[in-house]
Symmetry: C2
Subunit: 329 residues, 2 copies
Amino acid sequence: MSITILGGGGFLGLKLARRLARDGQVGGRPVEALTLFDLRPPPAPEGAPFPVRSLGGDVSDPAAVAEAVQPGTRVVVHLAAVVSAQAEADFDLGLKVNLHGTLAVLSACRALPSPPRVVFTSSVASFGGGQGAVLPDDARQVPENSYGAQKAMGELLLADASRRGMVDAVSIRLPTVTVRPGRPNKAASSFVSAILREPLLGLPAELPVGEDFAVWICSPRRAVEWLLHAMGMDTAGMGADRGVNPPGMSAKVGDMLAALERVAGPAARALVRRAPDPAVAAIVGGWPAAFTAERARARLGFSEQEPLDELVRAFVEDDLEETRRDRGL
Amino acid sequence: MSITILGGGGFLGLKLARRLARDGQVGGRPVEALTLFDLRPPPAPEGAPFPVRSLGGDVSDPAAVAEAVQPGTRVVVHLAAVVSAQAEADFDLGLKVNLHGTLAVLSACRALPSPPRVVFTSSVASFGGGQGAVLPDDARQVPENSYGAQKAMGELLLADASRRGMVDAVSIRLPTVTVRPGRPNKAASSFVSAILREPLLGLPAELPVGEDFAVWICSPRRAVEWLLHAMGMDTAGMGADRGVNPPGMSAKVGDMLAALERVAGPAARALVRRAPDPAVAAIVGGWPAAFTAERARARLGFSEQEPLDELVRAFVEDDLEETRRDRGL
Ligand SMILES: NC(=O)c1ccc[n+]([C@@H]2O[C@H](COP(=O)([O-])OP(=O)(O)OC[C@H]3O[C@@H](n4cnc5c(N)ncnc54)[C@H](O)[C@@H]3O)[C@@H](O)[C@H]2O)c1
Ligand SMILES: NC(=O)c1ccc[n+]([C@@H]2O[C@H](COP(=O)([O-])OP(=O)(O)OC[C@H]3O[C@@H](n4cnc5c(N)ncnc54)[C@H](O)[C@@H]3O)[C@@H](O)[C@H]2O)c1
């Protein structure tokens, strides 16, 4: 099975590529070749038992994507995106990458002799709702940010193309993936990872919302499991609806901090300082904090998010050293 | 107030232009200029008390649309579309006109000194549901046809652009507009108008579904009223949700035929022959047959569909002669 990861140099793309290199297979089928594509050629994962091509290019350039999705490709994981803060700051860039990029992915897939599985990462940000909401599977997407709107448009495009037999798409509406390694950034949701990551690095972090504030999250490990599941699953039962609300976790900030304290002690917990920021609370407070995720759980076989302590420990095991090194700490 | 109608040479565009020429105003504000744009320059309505420009061009060509949406334009009515059967037969044409066309409309609007009202015509075909369904206002759009998917994408784009203050959009999800003048065509919904229009012309018509089959319809008069309302209404209360399910009518085919008989006599009714067509029943049977349309009625001021007898008589008054002439009858 030949696989292409678009956006393969990003947070989840790199993790998925490493996992493929380790496992050598997806859903029992051996990986025969992997293409990684991003703005700059991504590093190949170490020790892969299959050839890896690394390509640089723009996902909104149909020729570049066609080069990355060559005949024989069975699975395209489309992660390339301009994320929320950037798409909000630069509307045209968001449209170019998130909408025209997805159109270019579809074009490349249609040129293949048979329709490939396309795994697309949509987002919780494609919904409104807010703190009180528990969104059912048929909740309407009324996005209140450009990134979410563009993701919802991509979902519609890929669902229609699936109905027509051009591709065989699964769109996973990922929760806020936590703990994200790296540095705090300008994303409104940056604090969700920062309040765990920074103390684990021995650094202070600011909490812009109250401890009762709830967020819909999943771990990077869980996100990678879901991508792998979506790459191999049977889509026959999905019908016209190719969008999946996966079984993430609705976590209160206070519970996340309690898990931090259990894993890393009270000194780590004490590094988090309350610094109310109504602007951040307003943005993140507009995102739904919980989903029922019935269909993903009961019918589509998506696995459950692990408990918070495990989510914190997974960052320590998987990402702490690398983050320390990358940040020169 | 300066107005542009894109797709101004089509069924509803021509009717709207005539109505503007007759009224000379919208929502109490005088029309100062009208631009009609379509693949070929549309005919100017007779007796307009304002200048009319007629332009030919492709709505997916940003330069052509920019020419049609000049500085000073306050309202853009975007009707240009490849309709359902054609968008299903030619996926690329549908994407070009229905998606890239709407992108070009947005580009042209962003070049204006202040954000114009954009009235976009989405469709009942952007929903699934079927005969049993009564769709609430927050029903999710899971289209089962490319036209509906492309319309839903256009809605997302224009809602986001409205949130950003680039345009001020209202997207009306029109029911099947009945009675449509002209000839029977290959659209699966063609019979909905044909079973009234053909007998009124003295011609036979075939009914592919049973008399209990229900359809969500509105008259051309009502569709034009809704467009006029959307051109002038206050959008302040709409929030992020710029989509409107207008108060159409869920009509059983048997009730439509009874109205035909009341208006035109049993001889007209007798021209309709039952000719079951499971393929047509399957397609049209997937569209929702009813909506609650609460928000449009109670909060947004959209007017009610008139009763069926009036819908039939309106065709006789407004369109029968012209249809006869156009078809050489
Ligand atoms: N991480 C999350 O919390 C989260 C939540 C919901 C959805 N998602 C989605 O999951 C996917 C992966 O997320 P991530 O956290 O790994 O994001 P990321 O930003 O780390 O990775 C995205 C990659 O896309 C690449 N990219 C951007 N523009 C490109 C272009 N024009 N051409 C080619 N490549 C381009 C970037 O260089 C980056 O490597 C994205 O689609 C994201 O929108 C992520
Ligand atoms: N009539 C209905 O039952 C109905 C129902 C739901 C939605 N709608 C929507 O309402 C709008 C008007 O409907 P209508 O019945 O008047 O349709 P119509 O087909 O009569 O008119 C559409 C017009 O768009 C023009 N057009 C097509 N491609 C174009 C292009 N590339 N560039 C410029 N113009 C182009 C056509 O020439 C035509 O004149 C459409 O957007 C349609 O999708 C109609």
